[in-house]
Subunit: 368 residues, 2 copies
């Protein structure tokens, strides 16, 4: 078992990583005094996950004395909407959730973000717990308290900072994760290697394949999950509300979000971030911040994860530019990029010229 | 001019009360460094208020270098919905509001709560300013950072704590406030007198009539507004997130909210609170916490404000009880009441028996 603590002035919580920990969640909540005043829990998930893991989790919770009701939402980014959050509110109301009740998100980033946002805004904020089931959510979305939903015109435009009270990671659930989603999440894993943790980068370089779970030894997976959680937790502790260094986590995300939105979410988050990292890496190279060798090493990892490195021709460039314009990473009309400087380090650059971005986007359609 | 400071660990802001201060808002924002990084402002209001005060405010803002767009929403509690907030999001998106942009609420509690909630959740939180135009909002809703909207099944079930950066109160705008709303707000003014400020209570006792603005001298009004703001600010500073003493502000609100919901908002907030205070006062008397003399003095003020003291027969008792059951003031199934102990003091009682409440509700239909 690995426990990564995340300490903020107002909150302190653990990120627990342990194979087969799902059946122990109920006890862990009790140990931590969660839901002490009210035993009511709303478990939010989607049909597939509830089928596979629902009873395990519900048994554990009821065994620990909680009264659980379950809400099943349709899976997928296109359901990360105000409408889905409304369904969580309705369930919270029907279940008479109180200020000291708990919401639990069993799912990937979409379920986690929505449930977190509902918890942030139900009765002006109640506790919630993240049980991430996707690799992407385990290494990124479930940690750090960013919650939210999409606006029809842009991703994550609506949201709140609301920290979970516990992040409960069971690597075994990755066995049911579709291959495409596993690969996509590798983009974020690679990201931590580039911007923060050179050791992680080398660990990934030393792993033969990154495109499927079965090629990665359990102890390597545990180390990858731990290093990612540590990186994320450290950055969040430095800068909870993204006023400074937390923006480093957006490496690959400026253009990535643009591509994701412009593709109408046909290209998933991780794939878009992979392309975004490659293009940001090219911008860094152009600006003399980052060597060709580093760029090639990054490209090599992206290839090993079987992730795209070029923008598919089906995504029109003007749609990407338009999405960039309404992206919240713009301050005073300028484009903000996170650019790598060496393996394990990156910097925030606030005044990248739109012309350079367009040039890189144009090249971005050709295979690297 | 009165300035009441409100200092919290993370935020510090002023509540400014000054006749004819509307045309000076732009300069005040600049002085306080608000909107420094982005000149974009979204002004949210409703048609009537924009007609009377919109150009004054917009002129002041544009004169100070802000780029203002205006959103007009329909007035009234029944529009305090997710749908209205969606319209604010749409306007924020269309106007390309950035993290450092500003929202301004020109209106009563409904506009203020919704705009505050939109600001709390747009890009995970941007700054906002309250320009309250109703007496109710001046003395209560605009101060203290409670924001939110109604759920079809209950008031304010969805929301966030998000402090404004400035509260800008111009008592002159009360001249266009409908009489019914002025009277309703007096319920909250009386509330502060009961739970917090015996001097205020006496000031109200010394005022001949409390039912219309024209009977209240400008200097008395200024003192009422100041004392209410001070009471609210002090309580919020002690307990921002309502984990303890802030609950005192809910005097009259437990039953009040129930009546408001059960009447489908035909009885407005202040009227419902007035009835709620009278009934809570009766509960306090029953429990020997509060004297008959104090009860009569409270009743006298409520009468002077021409506010109801009994539940109208049109509001069925079972509907009130049902609304009480889904009210967020319930912890562990028990009913929480704020009960007065002497003029200027109150206490929080967590375990009022539902039987006593039903008994008081039954009596509550007869004229006091």
């Amino acid at each position: 078992m690995t426990i990564v603590p995340l300490a903020l002035p107002q909150y302190h919580y653990d990120i627990v990583i342990e194979p087969d920990c799902l059946p122990h969640l109920g006890g862990a909540l009790r140990e931590r005094g969660l839901g002490k005043k009210s035993p009511k829990v709303l478990l939010v998930s989607h049909p597939f996950l509830l089928h596979h893991y629902g009873s395990k989790l519900v048994d554990s919770l009821t065994g620990a004395g909680f009264v659980v009701s379950t809400l099943s939402l349709p899976p997928g980014e296109r359901f990360k909407t105000a409408n889905s959050v409304q369904k969580i509110y309705d369930a919270a109301q029907a279940h008479h959730l109180e200020r000291s009740s708990l919401m639990i998100a069993l799912g990937g980033g979409v379920i986690g973000d929505m449930t977190g946002f509902a918890a942030a805004t139900w009765l002006r904020g109640i506790d919630f717990v993240q049980v991430p089931t996707s690799l992407l959510s385990m290494v990124d979305a479930s940690i750090g308290g960013k919650t939210g939903i999409n606006h029809p015109k842009g991703k994550n435009l609506i949201g709140a900072f609301h920290q979970p009270r516990l992040v409960w990671i069971d690597p075994l659930v990755l066995q049911t994760l579709p291959g495409r989603e596993f690969r996509a999440a590798m983009a974020e894993v690679i990201k931590y290697g580039v911007i923060w943790d050179a050791e992680l980068f080398k660990l990934l370089e030393g792993t033969r394949r990154l495109d499927q779970l079965r090629y990665i030894a359990p102890e390597t997976l545990q180390e990858i999950l731990t290093r990612c959680a540590q990186a994320k937790a450290t950055i969040v502790m430095e800068d909870e509300k993204e006023k400074g260094r937390r923006a480093l986590l957006n490496f690959g995300h400026t253009i990535g979000h643009g591509i994701e939105t412009a593709s109408r979410y046909k290209i998933n988050h991780g794939e878009a971030v992979a392309i975004g990292m490659v293009l940001a890496s090219q911008i860094a190279q152009r600006m003399g911040l980052w060597t060709e060798d580093c760029h090639d090493r990054l490209l090599n990892l992206v290839h090993k994860a079987q992730l795209p490195t070029a923008i598919p021709p089906s995504v029109p460039m003007d749609a990407i530019c338009q999405a960039l314009g309404s992206d919240k990473k713009i301050e005073g009309g300028k484009l903000r990029f996170i650019l790598p400087t060496q393996i394990g380090q990156a910097t925030i650059v606030d005044d990248i010229s739109p012309d350079l971005v367009k040039e890189i986007l144009t090249i971005g359609y050709t295979k690297n």
